[in-house]
């Protein structure tokens, strides 16, 4: 007959030998008895191991004074989902105080929940989650990283759409193409030296380029300050948007246009050097977000040694606050000191471009710009270059046939007199009118088709109606313009 045993108590120990020792201490009478130990069948909650994670990964439970735990703990940031604030975050904080008498991290960044277009949480069971690896293959890791961040402020849900990754990929292409543009410019013979570039005071650059470099230098400094501030507040999506706009709008759309050498002309060396310096700084600002393309281009930017990498090069420093150079640069910024109009140059150029478009005046035909009122001439070379002006003149009264626009409180005017051939203009407008009328007919035909209207999804119908409205308003404004020309005639 098998022996029977009764449970007389419990001991807690790391192994059976230790448990036996404890049992004998706790129940001295067992010395002269037969007894066995039966380990509890249960296991511990998974979170009972992960709640120690910030300590246990540095072996700080087993070796509380080891070099690593002393150095790396408290950790800095924890990035996690709000769903596990109790399961994990709160318990880690508790174990941190219990075992190290210190917080286990300094900051907790709660991400949002990734949802599909319908607002549902992405899950395996719903089958509404794209495969991340496929996305990476399709859009590139940098494109996907950017896509994840484009609409994801901390703690807010991320409505995910593949088009965000596409936007990310487009940005990669934009950077790539901008780089190829710059690298394609004709250079003075001696190659630029490698290493870190900080834009140096300009000597060779002239006119528009000189101003452009100063302007962008300032723009960059402002952005760095703002990016640092966003990072300090863990506004990571916002930091990315700042770099994104800096690169796409300020650098690509404005700066590169300002310094672009004339067709088949070389660029002056100083401007070129400064531009490469800016590129270098931009790549370094972009690197944390888009590590791969920035490393690739950083190596293409200059000769690098084996072991060089953008990932271990310093991030562009913020400008010293209140320093003289900053103060000077501020004067030439988009937000100029009171009264100045220097920063308004973009607006002036945009207005002139709009007039060219509207009046069908090709870029190669230069225009005159008349200024009425207070005006800072600092940006004249840039405006002249980018808007192709023959002159910027201060006048007390604008020419009668001029088209005018306002920037802040200053009025600007473009006299059109010589530039317009009324006959030609009318002919052109007639062509345009015919085109839009034809288009309107085709849209109306579609909308008149009952079968189409019955079957088409609401969005498609809306789109068609919008096309109709757009065409109608286009036609109306062309007709008005034509009427005006006929009067002149």
């Amino acid at each position: 007959m098998a022996n029977e045993y009764k449970n007389i108590g419990v001991v807690v120990a790391e192994d059976e030998a230790k448990a036996r020792e404890l049992a004998l201490q706790k129940f001295p009478h067992l010395k002269d008895k037969n007894f066995t130990l039966r380990q509890d069948e249960d296991t511990l909650d998974t979170w009972f191991s992960s709640w120690l994670w910030p300590i246990s990964v540095f072996d700080g439970i087993n070796e509380p004074h080891n070099k690593e735990i002393e150095y790396y703990y408290p950790t800095n940031d924890l990035v996690t989902a709000p769903e596990i604030i109790f399961f994990w975050v709160a318990r880690m904080i508790m174990s941190g105080y219990e075992y190290r008498q210190k917080p286990c991290f300094k900051n907790v960044y709660f991400t949002g929940i990734v949802r599909d277009k319908l607002g549902r949480k992405m899950s395996k069971s719903l089958g509404n989650s794209p495969d991340p690896i496929e996305l990476i293959t399709k859009y590139g890791a940098d494109g996907v990283r950017m896509g994840m961040l484009l609409s994801s402020p901390a703690g807010n849900d991320l409505p995910f759409d593949e088009s965000l990754c596409e936007q990310g990929r487009n940005f990669c292409n934009k950077i790539w193409n901008a780089f190829r543009l710059v690298k394609g410019w004709e250079l003075p013979p001696q190659p630029p030296s490698g290493g870190l570039r900080t834009p140096t005071p300009l000597r060779g650059a002239e006119g528009a380029s000189k101003i452009a470099v100063e302007w962008f230098e300032n723009k960059l400094a402002q952005s760095i300050e703002s990016i640092n501030d966003q990072f300090d507040k863990y506004r990571i999506s916002e930091a990315l948007m700042e770099v994104y706009k800096l690169f796409w709008d300020e650098f690509s759309s404005w700066y590169l246009e300002m310094v672009k050498p004339a067709y088949q002309q070389p660029i002056d060396r100083t401007t070129y050097e400064a531009t490469l310096g800016f590129f270098d700084a931009l790549l370094r600002l972009l690197h944390p977000f888009m590590p791969f393309i920035t490393e690739e281009l950083w190596h293409a930017l200059a000769e690098r040694k084996d072991g060089d990498s953008i990932m271990i090069s310093p991030t562009p420093p913020s400008p010293p606050s209140g320093g003289e150079s900053v103060a000077i640069l501020r004067g030439a910024s988009d937000s100029p000191p009171e009264g100045g109009l220097g920063g308004a140059f973009k607006e002036i150029i945009s207005n002139i471009r709009a007039i060219r478009l509207q009046k069908n005046i090709p870029f190669k035909e230069s225009l005159e710009l008349q200024v009425l009122g207070e005006y800072d001439t600092t940006y004249n070379p840039v405006i002249i270059k980018m808007a192709n002006l023959s002159a910027i003149t201060k006048v007390s009264e604008k020419t009668s046939d001029a088209v005018s626009f306002l920037v802040k409180t200053t009025e600007f005017a473009i006299p059109l007199g010589n530039t317009l051939n009324v006959e030609e203009e009318l002919e052109h407008l007639q062509k345009e009118l015919t085109h839009h009328q034809g288009f309107l007919q085709s849209v109306l035909a579609k909308l008149g088709n009952e079968a189409f209207v019955a079957k088409a999804p609401a969005q498609v119908l809306d789109l068609e109606r919008k096309k109709q409205a757009d065409a109608e308003s286009k036609i109306k404004s062309i007709e008005e313009a034509m009427a005006a020309y006929r009067c002149k005639k």
């Binding site: 029977e4 045993y5 449970n7 807690v12 790391e14 448990a19 129940f27 067992l30 008895k33 037969n34 007894f35 130990l37 380990q39 249960d42 296991t43 511990l44 191991s49 994670w53 300590i55 246990s56 990964v57 072996d59 950790t75 924890l78 990035v79 996690t80 989902a81 709000p82 604030i85 399961f87 709160a90 318990r91 904080i93 917080p103 300094k106 960044y109 991400t111 929940i113 992405m122 395996k124 991340p132 590139g140 890791a141 990283r145 994840m148 994801s152 901390a154 703690g155 990669c172 292409n173 690298k183 990571i236 944390p288 791969f292 393309i293 690739e296 990498s309 271990i312 090069s313 991030t315």
Partner: protein
């Protein structure tokens, strides 16, 4: 360096990731620089990357790369979690496909299968993170069940036990009948459910002095904690014996097998006539006392509450207060046990449907109304949890919560966005003891040993 006219990410990505790894740029060792440390939220060891991970790890990588470029000694520690319930469930399902039941295996055999599964699928997710560009210090990769981490867990359990913070006790726990384990409160998700409210007739039993007749070997009432089986009772349920019936509203008629009292509010004018009476649980034919407690909501249903101490947390507390017997009517998989009489072996929800019909047929169902109530579901298996009394290990949380609450409220630890501070405070101020034991095999086995003394011959 000649640049291609088009950017082709795939080539570029592989080339540079390899370069970074070869140069050891991700590796960190303590030095004189300021450290910058992030520990990864460890994903499930056998999981694959999903969009949530993508977002989370992209952000971590941005922070780490930026810190590195700012001259800090950046260290991002990667690793995986053994994910006991999720992994065990996957392996149980896989074995089931092969025709193997977990119960047919010994603990050791089962664990062999899990380790095999872990080695086969483990770490895929970390390889996927590399594709994203994650600059983790891969030399430091940890696993919650590797040697050092396991040792840490056991050490902490022993330490907390010795400090008197870990205890073992019978408590009402959240039972997951699919995973067959207890869950912590945090693993239960409460959802609004469209259900029914059943109004059941509990006939008033004849006065205790009236002999009920029946089997002579029935033990006296007192020995059964206040109820008496009514085998062969002459009371006709339909006629309601002496004093008619009291009507009890419940969403869970399948738990009547565990009823050991009916409770009324002593201040309820409409139920004054029930004071001191006993009633007969329908179908079960058990006589149970009417008890009085102000806990009962005068407005809910009829003001009569069936008391099922084994299957409802509040009833359990009433049971403790009034010394009621606790009758567990369910098996671990959510089917009824022998207490369920003719329904034994049937699933709880099947029984709910069947008993509705049977009560109607017996004339013991007053009415059924549509009813919306909150039901707890298992976070892992998504089945309704069953409150169940069970012997479990608990960690006392109140002493641990104090410094942890202060640290967040005084911004020693900062939350972004700060709105989560409120959520955190609410939970920490109302913290309950943590049920840390799981009836699973995959995980850190509890280092508790039951001392089994050989019985004396005389005791046999």
């Amino acid at each position: 360096m000649e640049l291609a006219s088009k950017y082709s990410p795939n080539e570029v990505e592989n080339k540079w990731y390899q370069y970074w790894m070869e140069k050891g740029f991700f590796h960190s060792e303590p030095d004189e620089r300021e450290p910058y440390t992030i520990v990864i939220p460890p994903p499930n060891v056998t999981g694959v990357l999903h969009m949530g991970h993508m977002l989370n790890n992209t952000i971590q990588d941005i922070l780490v790369r930026r810190a590195r470029m700012m001259g800090k000694n950046a260290c991002w520690v990667p690793g995986t979690d053994h994910a006991s319930i999720a992994t065990e469930a996957k392996v149980v399902a896989k074995l089931a496909q092969e025709g193997i039941k977990k119960t047919d295996l010994t603990r050791e055999q089962f664990l062999e299968h899990v380790w095999e599964w872990t080695h086969k699928h483990g770490g895929i997710i970390l390889e996927q993170l590399k594709k994203l560009g994650a600059s983790c210090d891969w030399d430091r990769t940890c696993f919650t069940m590797d040697e050092k981490r396991s040792e840490s867990v056991i050490k902490v359990f022993i330490d907390l036990y010795n400090k008197g913070l870990i205890y073992r006790g019978v408590r009402m726990v959240n039972w997951d009948p699919a995973a067959k384990t207890a869950l912590s409160d945090e693993e239960v998700i409460h959802k609004e459910q469209q259900g029914k409210l059943y109004y059941l007739r509990y006939m008033i039993a004849p006065a205790p002095h009236t002999p009920l007749g029946g089997a002579s070997d029935s033990p006296p009432e007192e020995d059964l904690g206040g109820y008496s089986p009514l085998e062969g009772a002459s009371v006709s349920p339909l006629e309601g014996g002496v004093g008619g019936a009291c009507v009890v509203a419940t969403t869970r008629p399948e738990t009547i097998f565990g009823d050991t009292a009916v409770c009324i509010n002593p201040n309820d004018p409409k139920n004054q006539h029930l004071k001191g009476k006993k009633v007969i649980v329908p179908i079960v034919n058990r006589v149970v006392p009417i008890i009085e407690d102000e806990y009962v909501d005068l407005e809910f249903g009829t003001g009569c509450l069936k008391v099922t101490p084994a299957h409802d947390v509040n009833d359990y507390m009433l049971g403790e207060k009034y010394g009621l017997e606790v009758l567990d009517v369910f098996n671990d998989d959510g089917t009824l046990n022998a207490h369920g009489l003719q329904y034994e072996g049937k699933d709880r929800f099947e029984v709910r449907k069947q008993i509705e019909k049977d009560l109607e047929a017996a004339g013991l169902m007053e009415k059924v109304e549509a009813y919306e109530n909150k039901v707890g579901f298992s976070e892992r298996t998504n089945v309704p949890i069953e409150p169940k009394l069970s012997m479990q290990w608990f960690l006392k949380m109140a002493p641990l919560a104090k410094p942890a609450l202060d640290a967040v409220m005084d911004d020693t630890i900062q939350f972004y966005p700060a709105k989560f501070k409120n959520t955190y405070r609410h939970w920490m101020e109302n913290i309950k003891d943590w049920n840390i034991s799981r009836q699973l095999w995959w995980g850190h086995r509890i280092p508790a040993w039951y001392v089994m003394e050989e019985k004396e011959t005389s005791e046999l």
